[in-house]
Amino acid sequence: MDFTLSDEHLDLRRQMRKIMTATVTADVVDETHRSGTNHAPAFIHALGDSGILARAMPGPGQDPIDMWLVSSEAEKFGAPFDAGGMVTSIAGVLAQLGTDEQRRRIMPGLLSGRELVCFGLTEPDGGSDLPRIKTRAVRNDTDDGWIINGAKMWTTMGHVADWVFLLARSDPSAGRYGGFTTFIIPMSTPGISVDPVWTMGTERSNATFYDDVRVGDECVVGEAHEGWRTMGIMLAFERGLGNTGALTPLLRRFAHWAAESGTIDDPLVRDHMAQIAIEAQVAELLTQRTVWTIATGEGPGTEGSVAKVYATEAYQRAARWAQATAGADGLLRFHETGAAADGWIDYDVRHSTPQTLQGGTSEINRNNIAERQFGLPRMR
């Protein structure tokens, strides 16, 4: 085994750090917390202008180590990359399944960081059980178009996005996984509305509504009625690559606070800090292995599920331990006098909570490991 990054990967890391130092200042981070919109335009623009978003795009012929490095560096630094993750993911889908016209029309905006995209997937009645979604796309042959009606939940970035990547049922008679179509639609299309969903974390999410939204065939991604295949490609990009590096910034912030407060001399605290340091290494190694598996063309198998469950659960344990250890000061929000790590401890407890839900719940991922890695019977 080899744990060395190549010179070009080290160079990418240096470039990332330079851009983040310049564009993700304390004020910028504060603004994301105030607004609930986890997006820093100057940062994403700089990533676009330097070609980093294009490098971080998933798909055949792309270097998955680039993709991992960009998101993990952002995560370690504390730079908001949610919007970057979404544009690279959808650009990757379009590169693979889009028409030439779609690639020309949509990809440059996404990969420059100037246009954002949100995901319209989950619905009030269809979360882990995604095929249960009810949003309907009805084909209207007279004008070669579609009429879409429905509602989506957790459309994060929906209020600032230029595009929505939407999954709809187009042929309800085609069985559980048949008859889906995926679309990429301008958010300015008449009939789309956005309501905020405020969360216990600092982030704002959204519910989005689609009332007689009329779109043409140019909005269909991949083959009509073959949307489940598109979803398979997209979810394979996502699983286990992002959001597994949160332990490093948590431990950094905790250790600096513990050093300032003198808590770091307490053996009970040092014992736990060492444990978290191990878990941070394990989370990183498992994620690097997922990336390596994709790079060798073997993956993705269940490696992403393995990394995702471990890393997100370890993050929650660590955050909750850090908060309890900081006592009352661990309850205080950003910039309150005496707040542990200036409020980051409280933030991490809130921010870590949905990590075991989004991008595939821990239960769905454990099912995946049991069924696909162990070959045990599927019982649902």
């Binding site: 080899d2 912030r253 050093a259 040092r270 060492a274 980051w344 049991a370 045990l376 019977p377 019982m379």
Partner: protein, 357 residues
């Protein structure tokens, strides 16, 4: 240079060789026969036939010149079979003291994990019951002591050939200052980690085989989600510990030892051999404990009976790890490497980048 999580072709060959060797020469009947001492002289002789005892010693010193990355593969294969031979201890000791009889394996060597006490006793040295040579710290020196092994161990949880040995009775050779043993202790942690990974992996295989066969309420118990989800935690524990052991080996093989390695807690970057060896040891101990515990539990009462193999693994998961002492103390030692206490002589002189928050 680039990320690589597969074994090299050479390592694949070593893995195949030792996996089939232990599968053939050390099935669970042999493990049981070797109890309670936990040592099979016949198996040791067979290992000598493979020139395994000296494989980690430099070629110039008459050994096999294997890299640490190769020894990690051997240790995992040994752990998978819970083979009753003191190969890990011997590999470590032979690298520190590559004397001809030790390199050949005619004399079994081991290391004491803690300095001798005031009476000059090394308490419960691993392989102390069967080793002809024990290397350890006595006062401010690292010494090798040659003496006839007792050939018996106090009755213990893992049926391991542990024993108290004297640092002063016998032929005594000074190898260097007390710190001369530090590298060997890091290697012991790393190889023991790999062996514990082997145990954890075997616990997964044994558990899976059982839950695929055993039926309750009209279907195999492996179809129940409670059991599926318990097992689904194993791969992260096993693979995480395995990668840490391999990363420790990589760091050692590439000279990332002490100040030549990186410990940067702000960036979460750790490439220093001894710190990684400690992390691997702790993670593997946890993996082996959890996986053997759950796998035994899924056997129901049968797992508790001596007839089933899982109890062999359950006991060694604890015995092979806890011989070093309380894992919490090892974590405190690790913490001192990662966040050196003020005024301490920082081991490995950790580097740290500017304090961003």
């Amino acid at each position: 240079m680039a990320l690589e999580f597969g074994l090299s072709p050479d390592q694949e060959s070593i893995s195949d060789l030792f996996s089939s060797f232990f599968a053939k020469e050390s099935p669970s009947e042999i493990v049981r026969e070797a109890e309670p001492l936990g040592h099979s002289p016949a198996l040791w002789n067979a290992l000598q036939g493979l020139e395994a005892p000296g494989m980690g010693v430099a070629v110039a010193a008459g050994g096999g010149g294997a890299a640490l990355a190769d020894l990690v593969v051997v240790a995992e294969a040994l752990g998978r079979a819970v083979a009753p031979v003191p190969l890990l201890e011997h590999l470590v000791a032979s690298r520190l003291h590559p004397e001809a009889a030790i390199v050949r394996g005619d004399q079994i060597a081991t290391i004491a994990l803690h300095p001798a006490d005031a009476a000059g006793l090394w308490r419960l040295a691993p392989a102390g019951a069967v080793a002809h040579v024990v290397i350890g710290v006595d006062g401010d020196e690292t010494v090798a002591v040659y003496a006839e092994p007792p050939g018996a161990a106090p009755a213990n949880h893992a049926c391991a050939p542990i024993a108290d040995r004297s640092a002063r009775v016998g032929d005594r050779v000074v190898l260097g200052p007390a710190s001369a043993i530090d590298g060997a202790l890091a290697e012991w942690r790393m190889l023991t980690a790999a062996a514990l990974v082997g145990i954890a992996n075997a616990a997964l295989e044994i558990g899976l085989a059982y839950v695929r066969e055993r039926e309750q309420f009209g279907r195999i118990i492996g179809s129940y989600q409670a059991i599926q989800h318990g097992l689904a935690d194993f791969p992260a524990l096993i693979d995480g510990a395995r990668f840490l052991a391999h990363k420790a080996a990589w760091a050692g093989d590439t000279g990332r030892v002490g100040a030549a390695g990186v410990i940067d807690m702000d960036e979460g970057e750790i490439t220093e051999h001894a710190a990684l060896a400690s992390m691997a040891f702790l993670q593997a101990g946890e993996a082996a404990a959890v996986c053997t515990d759950r796998s035994l539990h899924y056997h129901g009462g049968y797992g508790f009976s001596k007839e089933y193999d899982i109890q062999l693994y359950f006991r060694r998961a604890r015995g092979w790890a806890n011989i070093l002492g309380d894992p919490a103390r090892e974590r405190l030692r690790l913490a001192d490497m990662l966040w050196p206490p003020p005024g301490s002589a920082a081991r490995g002189a950790p580097t740290s980048s500017a304090g961003k928050v």
